[in-house]
C-alpha cells in the first residue's frame, strides 16, 4: 500500500514539474506578435465614432459658418483632452 502511495506521489510530482516547465516555456516575443497586440489595443472604429462628427476647429470659424449657413452652433466645453481620452 505504501509502495502504491509512494508511486502515486512520485507520479504527481513528475506531472506537476512537467506542467510547470511547459507553462514557463513561453515563446520569445517577435515583432509580428508585438504588431498583433498593438492592433488589439488601439481604439476600434466604434470607439472612434466621435470622429464622424464634422467638428469645426475654432469658435470663430464655427460662428462664421453658422451665420453663412443659418445654422445653430453646438459648443461643448470640458476638462482634459476628450479626443485622446485623457479627460
Amino acid at each position: 500500500m505504501s509502495r502504491i502511495l509512494a508511486f502515486a506521489l512520485l507520479a504527481q510530482w513528475a506531472g506537476s514539474t512537467l506542467l510547470a516547465a511547459s507553462q514557463d516555456k513561453t515563446e520569445p516575443p517577435t515583432p509580428t506578435w508585438v504588431e498583433g497586440r498593438i492592433l488589439e489595443i488601439r481604439p476600434t472604429p466604434a470607439e472612434r465614432k466621435f470622429d464622424t462628427i464634422a467638428w469645426v476647429p475654432s469658435i470663430k470659424e464655427a460662428l462664421r459658418l453658422a451665420k453663412q449657413h443659418s445654422r445653430p452652433v453646438m459648443m461643448f466645453t470640458y476638462d482634459g483632452q476628450m479626443q485622446t481620452g485623457r479627460c
Binding site: 497586440r37 498593438i38 489595443i41 481604439p43 470622429d51 459658418l65 452652433v73 453646438m74 485622446t84 481620452g85
Partner: protein, 280 residues
C-alpha cells in the same frame, strides 16, 4: 460624452445635418490657455450669456448659440447624458424652434486624435492604454498620448558603436514609460505631473544592424484624481517588450506592448507605435 451622446447615430446626424459643432477644453480658453485672445473672448461671451440667461450650465456643458451667435440654450453634464437621450432632445428643440433646414456637414469629418506637427528630425510615438475590461473601466475607450522625441533623445534608443546590450537613457525611458497608465481623471495637459516614479528603465539589445529589441520595466504611483490629496497614490507596474527597426542610423519603425501591466491591481495594456498613416 464621447462614447455616449457623441457616438449615437441620431445625435451625429443632428450635429452634421443641422449644426456647426465645436468642442473646446476649458484649459485652452482659460486665462493661461493656448487659444488666441479673440477665440477666448468669443467662447467667454457665449458662456457668460448662458450664465446671465440662468441656463443649466457649468464648466462641462453643451451650449447652443443661434446663427447670430447669441446663446439660445444649454445643458450641463451629466444631465446631458442622464438619460443619454437628453442631448438629442436638446439639439432637436433648437432645430424645431429655428425650423432649421437639413444640409450636408460643413466640414469633412476627420480623426480628432492625430500626431502633432513636428519639424526636423523628431521621433513621434503614439501611446495607447486600454484596460482589460474597458466596459467596466473609468472610460469605455482607450486613452491616448502622442509623444515627441528630439534627435538627442531618440538616438539613445540606438546602440553606441559596437555595443550589443545597453540601457536607453534614463530620462528618455522615463519620458515614455510615465504615460503607461490607464484612463484616469485628467483635467489638464500635464497629466503625468502627479506620477511618482520608482523605476522606469528600458534595456536594449541589438539583434542585428537593423533590428533592436527592447525590454521595459516601470514601477510608479499615481493618484486617480488630480488635486485630491485624500485619494492615495495607486501602485502602477508594467513590463513591456518592443522592437525598433533601424535604417541608416535612423529609427524607421517603433513598436512596444506591455506583457504585464496593473494599476491598483487592475490589469491594463499599453501599445506604443510609430504613426501608421495618421497625419497631423
Amino acid at each position: 460624452m464621447r462614447t455616449g451622446p457623441f457616438a449615437m447615430d441620431d445625435v451625429i446626424k443632428q450635429l452634421n445635418s443641422y449644426y456647426v459643432p465645436f468642442y473646446v477644453a476649458n484649459e485652452d480658453w482659460g486665462a493661461a490657455g493656448k487659444l488666441p485672445a479673440d477665440e477666448k473672448a468669443e467662447i467667454r461671451r457665449i458662456v457668460n450669456e448662458a450664465h446671465e440667461a440662468k441656463l443649466n450650465v457649468g464648466s462641462v456643458s453643451l451650449y447652443i448659440a443661434g446663427p447670430d451667435g447669441k446663446i439660445l440654450d444649454g445643458l450641463r453634464v451629466p444631465q446631458a447624458y442622464t438619460p443619454v437621450q437628453n442631448t438629442g432632445a436638446l439639439l432637436q428643440k433648437t432645430i424645431d424652434q429655428l425650423k432649421a433646414k437639413e444640409g450636408k456637414p460643413l466640414v469633412k469629418p476627420a480623426p480628432q486624435s492625430v500626431p502633432p506637427r513636428v519639424e526636423g528630425d523628431v521621433l513621434v510615438l503614439h501611446v495607447v492604454a486600454r484596460e482589460d475590461n474597458q466596459r467596466e473601466s473609468w472610460q469605455s475607450y482607450p486613452a491616448e498620448n502622442w509623444l515627441t522625441f528630439s534627435k538627442a533623445e531618440w538616438t539613445t534608443f540606438l546602440p553606441a558603436a559596437g555595443a550589443k546590450s545597453y540601457a536607453v537613457d534614463a530620462a528618455v525611458a522615463k519620458k515614455l514609460l510615465t504615460f503607461f497608465y490607464p484612463g484616469t481623471e485628467d483635467t489638464h495637459s500635464d497629466q503625468v505631473d502627479r506620477n511618482v516614479i520608482e523605476t522606469a528603465a528600458i534595456q536594449a539589445k541589438a539583434l542585428s544592424s537593423s533590428l533592436i529589441q527592447l525590454e521595459a520595466t516601470l514601477k510608479m504611483t499615481r493618484p486617480f484624481y488630480p488635486g485630491h490629496p485624500e485619494h492615495k497614490p495607486v501602485p502602477t507596474e508594467a513590463s513591456a517588450v518592443g522592437f525598433i527597426d533601424v535604417q541608416g542610423g535612423k529609427i524607421t519603425g517603433f513598436k512596444m506592448v506591455t506583457s504585464r501591466a496593473t494599476f491598483g491591481g487592475k490589469k491594463f495594456a499599453v501599445a506604443v507605435a510609430s504613426p501608421k498613416g495618421e497625419r497631423p
